[in-house]
Symmetry: D2
Subunit: 494 residues, 4 copies
């Protein structure tokens, strides 16, 4: 540790302790954010007459240089530094000397610097994740469009429940993902600028906090300065959102893994997303789906990590705060990768419609349709449920499909079990038990009736477009803010 | 298990298996919600011409009866039933027979019933928790108002950081709690009605899902029927929000516990919220604070519980879903209790202002004020930081307070360490190192400058009032909806 | 709070604060343990000449009375008390007065009392859980014995991997459960007596700590008194062990749920352990398995709960420690219930051997057998893997089973892909691809070769018997210790 | 992906999917383990007459070469490979051709290979961690030896509890760490060889599983082949053990952080392990302690990660298993770093004995000593507790120290509150309230009586030596096994 800050401490730090304390490895991702944040701060310092134009020029020149070197991959973070903030300051001081360079962080502490950098980073990545969620939603909508009338057994308890369609299944996750998106966008709105909080209690310099916030594209500041340096709820909220995203992805993965089994045979993951075995040459494993499912554990774990760190942590900045980075980086990477991969999997997924239809046709899942039909014939639902339950039991035991059921049987069984005369025509019976007809018979909003599916797809496409428009607008807004800031820097340098 | 549904299954269920599967113990809290939901559903059934007015009358009469008996504590949930839904249906059928009573759940499954009940329950409790958060915010504001100029050392790394005030500290948590409140209100908006989803794929009856939603005070429905019965992200989101609330409460608790120690002596928990020892008669333990801190673990654990349950759970309803209840009940109870208790603790907290001032006056926390002052005398911040670091080191080693520092010393040390001539008058020096003056010197938004504190208190009071108004409005809206529904029931009964 | 300890505190405690602080609801389970522990302590006090025989007699008489009333369910814990310790002391003092009754806890604090009670409780339950694990192992062994040659496809990635047997599958979990048992027995050995640690730093009375330990059946004491009252690693270890047990049970549950699907059709959960649907009369849901899977979340959550509580908790006793009880109670209850239920499920599970054989016969899972056979014909394993991979791909694409493969085909394909002449006779080919023969061909220890399965079953039965003998011995030892202690109490009373 | 295994799959894998599926980044740590395991397997293949001596020679020659290149850092893992197993096989095949090199993994799958590699890795690291725990224990013992009579207030609820010594405090953690060590050593004994399990159901080659186990220094095999490839409880157990270690380290850290505060002033972390502030020049932050506390969250999180991955994961190998690596690597690294750093911190910790004594002398912590003394004067403990409670309350309110208490006062107060005459001489009273005398008066095993402390230190030193001897023996045993194996390899090559 070269130690620009260690004037107060005598002995040099122990080498392994130094490595242990350094966050430099985790800091690569935020170097540019740190430089940009510093530029904004120093411009404000000048505008508030805290530093001279000349000093500002020198500072910005060296920062701009570092910015360029970094983008061109011509400079690396030196592991001898405690963190990125020390590295940047050291760079500037080496370039322009302590007398001027030492003004870089006037009215500013690493505590508010890192709190800023993390938020800038999260802001950028939440936009990226939002885009990826919309991409996945779009692919689900496309696939649902192709399978809007693909008859399929709907499962509850992994048993045949009710006839539905594959499109209906896919659409259920567009809606879950829209909620994920909503949560992420709301989390996003709470990302404000902590800059100007200084160590924890503000500064005697007349820093204009809203000014730096605006220069960096934030709508507001984290006002209370203790709150600004001490709180990391935005990080916990971010990872909470991602944990729920992963929960949803893990469920889709589980479904598709089960449906990829030979026994189900409903879907096949494209070779691009599969792997085989080193010893069993026949294997085609839906490995990417398994990994998505497995990586859910990591994001859950990182949420616990963050919650644990901040459980009963004394207010103020503590070095425990430094441990916020890894769980953020890790969760964001995993969510981004998994969203991208799942989008590819769904896009290229082979859906075996025939197999789905065959299973549906031989299934007892039509029992509920029959029960509802018999209600229309005059039974109360519970009576009908009992009667159909009785029939199904009989048929299951003798291994017969409900397709063998005749109107006569129903009349007989109805008399036997309920003492009631129920008449249903053969035609009605056939229609009721035909899975394709079953879908068409659904009358409720949100059901797998193919017309309803089409309506929902259209509606969600519209929604997705609106969200994408909104998102793109926000991303462009930030890009413009950055362009403007860098132009301002250039103008000061010249 | 009396088994109104078990027509399909032969052998009676094993006794311990029956107890194992039953959720009846957890269902007490949602019985009324279930009854109300059923009333709404059956009124809709009639309005959609699915059941007759006469049948509706009979059904509502028995439901109304059950509702009344329950409120009067004259009926209990029978542990022989699988769940509350079976219990209610059984009650109705026993009262009015299967022929009519059996129509109770036409076009409806336990899957959408429980999904509804949980949301009604969470909706009610989120309002309660919101109110409690506002209560705590208000008390923090009051206490901050009393201590807006109570000088105190601000800690980072539990070391003396920068001079601040107790009011400033308290305010930092009003802001964190406002964010908690925001998250809860947003979570609240996602609570829509799943009713009409039936088992998982809708119904062939023309159920009007928006109708029941409106009757129950929901603004919208969870449209896709698979999503409606299969998703529990609202529960995970609820507990995530509460985990963050508890994280904040645990940090306040930790601060106050440390500050209650003899060594700090900053605050004293009122006897009402303290306990003593069975063996050490001198003890006065801040036990309620410790419990709040400890109970944080439970809410974290319940979040992990829920996330684990839904990790890779196949889509559809599975009995795993039943395990959603306990973590919700438990987290909500804990959050409500802890918020209430902490509000009481803060309200009655004794603040030892003298002790805080003494520590601040003897502290080196003024070093940053001095460093900033010396910047105004011409040093760059890093130079100033080095100079003051050098001085502090000297003083710490010789055990002297900074109050002994003279302008002469500064001139000498400045020359020695920086080779620079720095002049600061004795008066300036005294003012700079006086903690009360230090507070007044802060110029940044969100700082502990007493004027700024007052401004923030005023602003947060306004915000709190607005939030409370909004919340009260929402609670009243729901009450009106319920009144209307019960009046509608009465009109059908008569 | 009646407050036998509150002499130091002035104001009476706030009512809701009192309820909040009280652990009395959780204390029911340890009342007897607390009474027994107190008896042992007071006998020791007398033997060490700290209290007189007469005082001891009075104390033991009242404790014995309370013990009897409790067992006969004639007395209840009063929620007005802070905890069980206060309740017991209050009972004694009310009976025999403060002058003598006040000696009850000489040299003893609630801190070491509760640390003792928890360990006695955990000791008892770990024995119970150990017995249940052995019961489940025994049922698995029985079922494995019935299915030692039941051919079945073994899955990896839920794809057909390698031919195995259902017995082999079941045995894999006996071994996992034996490891669970080992961990629990080791955890058990670390349960020593903390009694005599007093508040945290021992006592000036000559308490004989080994004496009370022996009276209560402990082999040793938790020696360092701070460690004795401050540590709860035994609780974390207990719940860690149970979390791993649940992890194993959840995996068995998942397998059986998937295998219960119509599509797999391998097993059927007996009606006793199944439930049906309120709306879909055809359903037979493996609900108990789903609940076991779901309840895994709770135990995981409780582990996180405990870990969170003790994360960075200051050494010594804090009221956070009180929160140790619920996660222990909860995890232990769940593990016990789930073990019992799963044992019943396995015992009554219907195994559809024909279906398993059919799937195996039509599967490509024999590919690895073929690959190994071709190695014996002169190919290197990787060559053979490539050749068989090539063949399988061809067959999968044309939808043909490997049963159609001829020796001629192999010769041709081998030439085509490897440029090698490979001869395998039709007979060898048939034998290689016959799943029953495949099992018999396995030569490795731990494989599903039916002979190997039988050997393993025999071996595990022996192991299980030994473990049960050891466990029974330990349980009886403790029973004897208790008998002896109660006889000692009786002898003092008379 | 170069794809030595992908003969079955048609399309090349998607590039990002390939990166997603690859574990190569995590595999660096186990390359040597994989090579060594492969050597052992292939020697066994030859000894079982499955491959020829000549083939073995060729294979071992190339493996030995790879081994050497790796150690000399002359070869790197190529990210184009799926994993280390494919990389190694590819290396060998490139060197000696498919005809011979393709025999490398005869009767072996990646499933049992990785299960082996992980166990070899964990085995090595558990030994390393055990050594580090013993190092920390030894330093604690040394420091305890220096402070065996350093009077200090013992805290419960962070309030003054009972007089103890700093040595007593330190010793409490040696005992907790010995339990951690025990758990790790027990976990260690369950690390057996899975090799020979093949994909999941063994092999038709006559593999001698015990042979490879012995060659690699394992005492036993994971017998059931499904269990061998499917189970990862050893990983969960490992991380559970480390989570408890971290829990203990986090508590020590918290104590020392609080005691490093200016207000406590008990200890000072050496400059080597401290950091300072970028803006507050007076700061000396116990940063390493804070990081240890913070990193606890990561290990907790990794435990949740692993538990989540294996929750309800279908039996067999799934790609989810691949995600076992990161949490293991991560937890092990953190535990090792934190143990090493804490050892250094304790070693160089400055203990401010005077400050501790001053606080103890002015504290009410002697109240329990007084209460016990008054019991010896004839009061029951509860009476004495009440009397002393009354006195303390009076003194606290008037801000007086107990040192002002006279025998006369006691006589008066005793009469007032209990109506009893209690006589204690001034000399007795002084002795009782003198903290140094208080320590000496403790008569219980495990108490801070300096004599008892010395006895315990001696005992723990002995224990630590024995453990270190045992550990060193085990490490040397494995080294010898490896030497022997490599010599065997050499003999085959020559």
């Amino acid at each position: 540790m070269s130690g620009v800050y260690r004037s107060r401490l005598g002995e040099r730090v122990d080498k392994s302790a130094s490595r242990f304390m350094s966050s430099i490895e985790d800091d690569e991702r935020i170097l540019l954010d740190d430089v940009i944040g510093t530029m904004a701060h120093d411009i404000m310092l000048h505008e508030q007459k805290i530093i001279s134009k000349q000093d500002l020029k020198a500072i910005l020149t060296s920062l701009e240089e570092l910015h360029t070197l970094w983008i061109q991959d011509k400079i690396k973070l030196d592991p001898e530094f405690e963190d990125v903030h020390e590295f940047v300051e050291d760079y500037v001081i080496k370039k322009i000397g302590q007398e001027v360079g030492g003004k870089l962080h006037t009215g500013r502490s690493r505590n508010d610097q890192v709190a800023l950098d993390l938020r800038i980073y999260v802001r950028r990545e939440l936009n990226e994740i939002s885009r990826e969620i919309l991409d996945l939603i779009n692919i689900l909508l496309e696939k649902a469009s192709d399978t809007s009338d693909t008859v399929m057994v709907g499962y509850t308890h992994l048993q045949h429940g009710q006839i539905t369609s594959f499109g209906h299944y896919l659409l259920s996750y567009t809606d879950a993902l829209f909620r994920d998106l909503e949560r992420i966008r709301e989390c996003y709105t709470r990302l404000n600028s902590p800059l100007g909080a200084c160590a924890l209690a503000g500064s005697s310099f007349p820093l204009d906090r809203m000014k730096t916030a605006k220069l960096l594209g934030f709508n507001d500041i984290v006002e209370n300065s203790i709150d600004a340096v001490s709180s990391r709820d935005f990080a916990i909220e971010t990872v909470s959102c991602l944990a729920t995203v992963m929960m949803n992805l893990s469920r889709i993965s589980e479904d598709l893994i089960i449906w990829s089994s030979t026994e189900f045979g409903y879907v096949e993951v494209s070779d691009e997303y599969a792997s085989t075995s080193s010893v069993m040459p026949q294997k085609k494993n839906p490995s990417t789906l398994e990994l998505i499912r497995g990586k859910t554990g990591t994001v859950y774990g990182e949420l616990v990590n963050l919650l644990t760190i901040f459980k009963a942590l004394m207010t103020g900045y503590n070095l425990d705060h430094q441990e916020t980075k890894k769980p953020l980086w890790n969760s964001i990477d995993i969510a981004e990768n998994c969203l991208e991969i799942l989008t590819g999997i769904i896009k290229t997924l082979k859906v075996n419609e025939n197999r789905m239809l065959t299973v549906a046709s031989e299934s007892y899942a039509g029992a509920i349709d029959l029960a509802e039909e018999l209600v229309r014939k005059g039974l109360s639902f519970r009576e009908s449920h009992k009667l159909v339950g009785f029939i199904v039991k009989k048929y299951v035991e003798s291994g017969k499909s409900l397709n063998n059921l005749s109107s006569e049987d129903i009349a007989t069984y109805s008399q036997d079990t309920l003492g009631k005369n129920i008449t249903i025509t053969e035609k009605e019976l056939k229609r009721t038990l035909d899975p394709t007809e079953s879908l068409k018979s659904r009358q409720t909003t949100g059901s797998p009736n193919p017309e309803e599916i089409k309506r929902m797809i259209k509606d969600r496409k519209k929604k997705s477009e609106n969200q994408m428009k909104h998102l793109t607008g926000e991303v462009q807004r930030i890009e413009k803010v950055y362009d403007k800031l860098l132009r301002l820097v250039s103008s000061y340098i010249k």
